[in-house]
């Protein structure tokens, strides 16, 4: 369970953060939420998809990293298989806390918090949060910046997804894979871009999409599905 606390020099002068990769930090997950701003970098190495939140039915943008719970095919020990790591992992163990209950996070009503329950938080090794003068370290400054990106990125991604839904541009993916022993597995609940409807957008909508960067994002997301085949190969190799 997360235990977010506000960060201050008094409490956290000795706190160190382990910044490596690994299952011990909870990174053995089979999908990772991402923001639309990352799409260009992600599309080169990950299959992007939309998944529904089971509690709200709302769509979120994610990358698929495995085929079953606990399986992250990008994580090999303490090494990450590709160059780009999604912000959602890189910003841990920090979270954005909202000061107004139930309000949408903006730069005015949010604070940076640290999840004290995270395995990254310790006093022996890693990056410090403050320099000797009590000022935020370079590391902490970077994290603050990253979380700012994430927050505004989340809002932008929500608007992006709403627009896609308005134009019927999201459809369910029929995914079934064949594993090493010939076993066929079918997956429900994965969604991607409806390319037929994308191709049929009116010129007005097309122009609006292009100007907002949506058009590019749509094609990149659609094309990224090809990476699923890579994941299948990685899984077969590991079996």
């Amino acid at each position: 369970m997360a235990k977010p606390v506000l960060i201050d020099f008094e409490q956290h002068s000795k706190t160190l953060i382990k910044t490596g990769r690994g299952a011990e930090f909870g990174e053995n997950v089979h999908f990772i939420p991402v923001i639309a701003d990352e799409v260009r970098a992600l599309a080169l190495a990950y299959p992007l998809c939309f998944l529904k939140d089971n509690n709200t039915g709302q769509f979120g943008l994610n990358v698929l990293t495995g085929f079953e719970a606990g399986e992250n095919l990008y994580l090999q020990g303490d090494q990450w298989r590709t160059h780009y790591v999604p912000i959602h992992l890189r910003r841990q163990p920090f979270l954005v806390g909202v000061t107004e209950e139930g309000a949408k996070p903006t730069s005015d009503n949010t604070v940076l918090t640290l999840d004290m329950d995270s395995a990254r938080v310790n006093t022996e090794q890693g990056e410090g949060l403050f320099n000797e003068h009590g000022k935020p370290s370079d590391y902490l400054t970077q994290m603050i910046d990253l979380l700012g990106q994430l927050m505004s990125g989340n809002n932008r991604t929500e608007v992006f997804i709403e627009t896609l839904l308005e134009h019927d541009l999201i459809e369910e993916l029929q995914l079934s894979i064949t594993l090493k022993d010939g076993q066929q597995k079918r997956f429900d609940g994965l969604y991607n871009i409806n390319e037929a409807n994308l191709g049929a957008l009116s010129s007005d909508n097309l122009e609006a999409f292009h100007k907002k960067g949506y058009l590019q994002a749509c094609y990149l997301i659609a094309a990224s599905t090809g990476h699923i085949q890579t994941l299948v190969e990685w899984k077969k190799a590991a079996q």
Partner: protein
């Protein structure tokens, strides 16, 4: 005449008028460029009947075809999910006497008849418990899907409970704003005949004469066009189904967050039965009874008693009395006029058939929409033939509920078993079913209103005995049936684990809406 049929005039609003308008408009819009016109003229003074709040699963398709979002429908029409009907105190009248008619077919119903297997050990589980997971889901008050399930799709089959008044208004808005239906709010003062006996136009108080090629009578019990103008005779079926009066009332919940039932509850009374439909913010409860077997006073007492026993508080003065005439017109389509809804006929709401008949009437008119006046005569003949059959089968199926009862605590129940009150067609089926369970080819048409499965649910729910076949059961059959019943138990476990409760899901739908995909 090869005059093209382009202009449709629907007389009367309510759920019949607007479902018909929406279904026709959506179909014609999809298939034809333009050139057709749909006008609905309704009286500002005549109120719709205001009851009729249970649907069939077909309503999902009907709404989707009109381009309606399930999210909007649920948010605006006080809708809840219906997964079947629970019949309480219909068999013996004891407190714990009940059976379910769910909306899901028995396991593998396409090819396996589980009835025989169940009958070998009928006391282990009730029939509906053994062959479908829906009874368990309903008894637990769970919803048929989750917030992540796409609109109009299900995890387990479902229909709706809805607020009739809000539903008409909702459909009206949608038809006018999205489907180009022309709306005239005015009273029809006269019906003008053409030379050949067709209706040429209807005269209105302030909007002149409204001419049309096809007229649809949705004027309710009044049956202004078919019954009054064309004088098509009404064929009563009170000799079969005795119920001819209703007392209806709305019952509030104790709290905003009260649980919502997953099914319609029908509870047998001394001379009729009480319906109980749970919407989002209130219940719709009513007592339908036979005036030949009890008085309004007694019927009202029974209704109030039921409400008190089920934890409701009402004002006796709010009870509405509605006279019913069970039966239907001898034909439904005369000349260029077809009746849809109460104008065509009425049967007690025991299996929520009224709205279904509206849907399938509108669907048939849309599917077979006559291109010319000559074609219309042929379509009309088929429509009449099909719907006469449908009404008769519905009457049979409703009567089945009564003739299988074992109650003898009042004349109503005893009289219902008198063979002179049982249609020949039904008697013949029951004779057959004494020796073999209902199966697909027992029924004439490819598409039946009540499939064989529905008959199984009622027969075996009410304790009907089908003699085991002397040829016994093959190993293969026993194994298959055993496996299917195992599968059923597993599905029950899964569903009880994964499905939310109705109130919880409805709250989420208000908060988040549902996805179209």
């Amino acid at each position: 005449m090869d005059q093209a049929i382009k202009s449709i005039v629907i007389v009367g609003g309510g759920t019949a008028g607007w479902i018909t308008a929406g279904t026709l408009a959506a179909k014609l819009q999809n298939e034809h460029a333009d050139g057709f016109k749909i006008t609905l003229v309704e009286s500002p003074d005549v109120k719709p009947i205001g009851v009729g709040e249970g649907t069939w699963p077909t309503m999902r398709r009907t709404l989707k075809a009109m381009g309606i979002r399930e999210t909007d429908f649920i948010r605006e029409c006080n809708v809840s999910f219906k997964q079947g009907a629970k019949f309480a105190q219909w068999v013996t009248g004891a407190e714990d006497d009940f059976y379910y008619h769910p909306l899901v077919l028995p396991q593998d119903f396409d090819s396996t008849n589980l009835a025989r297997h169940w009958m070998a050990h009928p006391f282990e589980q009730s029939f509906s418990q053994a062959v479908s997971p829906q009874e368990a889901v309903c008894e637990t008050g769970l919803a048929p899907k989750t917030i992540a399930t796409a609109e109009f799709t299900s995890i387990i089959n479902y229909a709706y409970h809805l607020d009739a008044g809000r539903f008409s208004a909702f459909l009206q808005r949608h038809c006018i704003e999205k489907l180009n239906v022309h709306h005239i709010l005015d009273n029809v003062s006269k019906i003008n005949a053409a030379e050949n006996g067709d209706i040429a136009s209807v005269s209105t108080k302030a909007n002149g004469d409204i001419a049309g090629d096809l007229f649809i009578d949705c004027t309710g019990f009044k049956s202004l066009l078919l019954g009054e103008h064309f004088k098509v005779r009404f064929k009563s079926c009170k000799d079969v189904l005795f119920v001819d009066q209703a007392l209806a009332i709305h019952v509030p919940y104790d709290t905003d967050d009260a649980p919502i039932a997953s099914h319609t509850i029908s509870t047998g009374q001394s001379a009729g039965w009480v319906w109980d439909i749970g919407l989002q913010n209130r219940r719709g409860v009513g007592h339908v009874y036979s005036s030949a077997h009890t008085t309004e006073q007694r019927a009202s007492e029974e209704l109030l008693n039921y409400i008190a026993q089920t934890g409701g508080k009402v004002n006796e003065a709010d009870i509405r009395s509605i006279g019913l005439n069970p039966g239907h017109r001898e034909t439904f389509w005369r000349q260029n006029c077809v009746a849809v809804g109460l104008s065509a006929g009425f049967l007690e709401p025991l299996e929520a058939s009224s709205l279904l008949l509206v849907e399938i009437s509108a669907a048939m008119i849309a599917d077979q929409f006559p291109a010319t006046r000559d074609a219309m005569d042929i379509v009309a003949k088929r429509f009449n033939h099909t719907f006469l059959y449908r009404w008769e089968r519905i009457i049979d199926f409703l009567k089945l509920h009564y003739m299988l009862s074992k109650r003898n605590d009042s004349a109503f129940w005893i009289d219902n078993r008198d063979t002179t009150t049982i249609p020949q067609s039904l008697q013949e089926q029951l004779t057959l079913w004494q020796f073999q369970p209902p199966w697909h080819n027992d029924f004439e048409h490819a598409v039946e209103v009540f499939p064989a499965a529905s008959y199984q649910y009622v027969l075996y729910g009410m304790g009907f005995y089908t003699k085991p076949n002397e040829l016994g059961m093959s190993q293969a059959y026993q194994q298959k049936a055993g496996a299917l019943r195992q599968k059923n138990s597993q599905q029950v476990q899964q569903m009880l684990k994964n499905l939310p409760d109705n109130r919880g899901l409805i709250n989420k739908i208000h908060q988040f809406g549902m996805q179209r995909v």
